[in-house]
């Protein structure tokens, strides 16, 4: 950003603040702004208003001020709790899986580095639905589920429809989002620090704990947030791999908006979901930074 500003200031033809230049800027920004206002700001605002209303006819609502929808959301809060537990567990699993992987790519892969990153990106952008669906065969009674069932001698053993299957799906679907930011921070790390640490007699573990991990922390935080937020709102994975038996907030929102058609109640839950995410992300960032201040100084 700073370099951009500097580059702009030495621009030989300073952009004239003429009417035409201003008009061009406005025209360039108009479509995107329109999209944001009409399809992001307005819808979210309507949802907030609707969450205080009462249902009228199918899908409609009467704009009164009532907190009934919120008290409903808190009374039947099981999906929120399930989602929170699954999201925290999924984020933690992604973190522990991604850390060694990102470390390997950043420090050991050499010239194959960009190939490995491409190989991570490609499945991430490829048919989320299809890749989730694939696990039905792998984990099903003719796959791993049946195999383990035979092994432990329990014909009723199932993986599909359990929280474990959903958790696996979540890690599978969102792991790359954790790897990218960790990889980027590790890649930018000054490798001289690691060598200095080793020269000073620090072991492998001590070096990792005192040098690599603190430097990578911003990447870990970004990655955790990037994974945690979509996990909280996930619908496709619990619907397919959990058979709807693992019932998350996403399942409930789909139920209320597309089947039960009680929109105000669903709207209240959506608002609560956003609030939970805001609070937990803020707390997480605050908590991670709190422990970091002392060490940050010593590293820089």
């Amino acid at each position: 950003m700073a370099t951009l500003a500097r580059a702009a200031s030495v621009h030989p033809v300073p952009p004239r603040r003429s009417f035409r230049a201003g008009l061009l800027t406005a025209v360039l920004l108009l479509p995107a702004s329109l999209w944001y206002l009409v399809l992001l700001v307005a819808p979210l605002a309507i949802v907030v208003v609707m969450s205080f209303g009462t249902p009228s006819r199918i899908g409609g609502f009467d704009p009164v001020f009532s907190l009934d929808n919120y008290s409903q959301a808190f009374e039947r809060s099981t999906p929120f709790v399930t989602s929170l537990v699954m999201a925290v567990a999924g984020t933690a699993l992604c973190l522990f899986t991604a850390l060694p992987l990102a470390y390997f790519i950043a420090t050991r892969a050499g010239r194959r580095k960009s190939l490995l990153i491409v190989l991570l990106i490609v499945p991430f952008w490829t048919s989320f639905l299809i890749r989730t669906y694939a696990w039905l065969t792998i984990l099903g009674p003719d796959g791993l589920g049946g195999f383990i069932g035979d092994l432990i001698g329990d014909p009723a053993f199932r993986i599909l429809g359990t929280p474990a299957a959903v958790l696996l799906g979540l890690v599978y679907g969102y792991l790359p989002l954790m790897v990218f930011p960790i990889y980027v921070t590790m890649e930018r790390m000054d490798r001289g620090l690691v060598e200095a640490s080793k020269d000073l007699g620090a072991g492998r573990l001590a070096t990792f704990r005192q040098i690599t991990l603190p430097i990578t922390l911003p990447g870990l935080i970004t990655g955790s947030i990037l994974v945690f937020i979509p996990l909280m709102g996930e619908y496709v994975i619990p619907a397919i791999l959990g058979y709807g038996r693992v019932f998350l907030v996403g399942n409930q929102l789909v139920l209320q908006f597309l089947e039960a058609r009680n929109w105000p109640e669903g709207a209240a839950r959506a608002v609560v979901l956003i609030l939970i995410m805001l609070v937990s992300v803020t707390f997480y960032v605050w908590f991670s930074n709190r422990g970091r201040k002392g060490r940050e100084v010593s590293v820089l």
């Binding site: 360039l28 479509p31 399809l39 309507i46 420090t107 190989l119 792998i138 080793k198 929102l253 709207a267």
Partner: protein, 311 residues
Amino acid sequence: MSTTAGVAAKPLTRGGPRRDRFGGLVEGWLRGHTLLIYLFLYIPIVVVVVFSFNATNRRVTDWQGFSLRWYESVLSDTVVQGALLNSLIVATSTAIIATIFGTMAALGLQRAPRWFRTPFEALTFISIIVPEIVIALSTLVFFSSAFDVLNPLLDLRLRLGFQTIIAAHALFNISLVMLLVRARLSGMDRTHVEASYDLFATPWRTFRQITFPQLMPAIVAGGLLSFTFSFDDYVITTFVSGAGSTTLPLYVFGTIRKGVTPATNAVAAVMLLITLSVLLVGQFLVWRNARRAGQRGGQASVAGMIAEQSG
């Protein structure tokens, strides 16, 4: 970047002054872990594709020999054909809209005053970070409220369908294209632009001959990623689709409920094929462009740009 890292990493593997006995073990574990993760990521894709060629009539995993019969039966199914066509219409329109408006926004934002830029960037951030399901349900609420008001007022017959799906998909993708193009803009070498102005080129000509070619990889990447996002999307589409606008993901999701069949695997494999080839074509175009411009592959790849963004 990558060469210096490769060189610097070498002494590490030799263990440094204090030899640690677990060095080999750790190296082996890192290697094994990485390999396992890549298997974990790719085995499901392989499973779908392999079993789509199964000749069996019964269970999917019951291998009865190689056959294309499920592809024949699926591709001649008019419902699948319709869904595929719908998906292509939606994805192409979304990609075009997102690419044009996203690029415009990235260029405009460079020139915009700060009072505008800050809230605009905040909205971009929100549009990307808010879970898809929240975007989906709020868009549905918005459309149906808007139609309730507008239709009787202006005597229109607006309803959910292609236009609502495309509009909803474009929101995320405009932000995506904008971020990619902005990243490219900020990393761009300004000297060519300055030289162009020094040679008395008009702003338009400078843009067409200098800026635009340099932005091309980001624009292409953004367009292709928008296409694949839109082509694969289930959550937003299921909320804002109407009668007659069933896309392929909606069709597949519906058939999954009836269980896994070789036919579903064949449709799934077709979807994989389409998205994978779009991504690979994009990767190839970006690489070729980078080679012509004499850059190294790493940062110029689609992957590199996304990795940069999320970092």
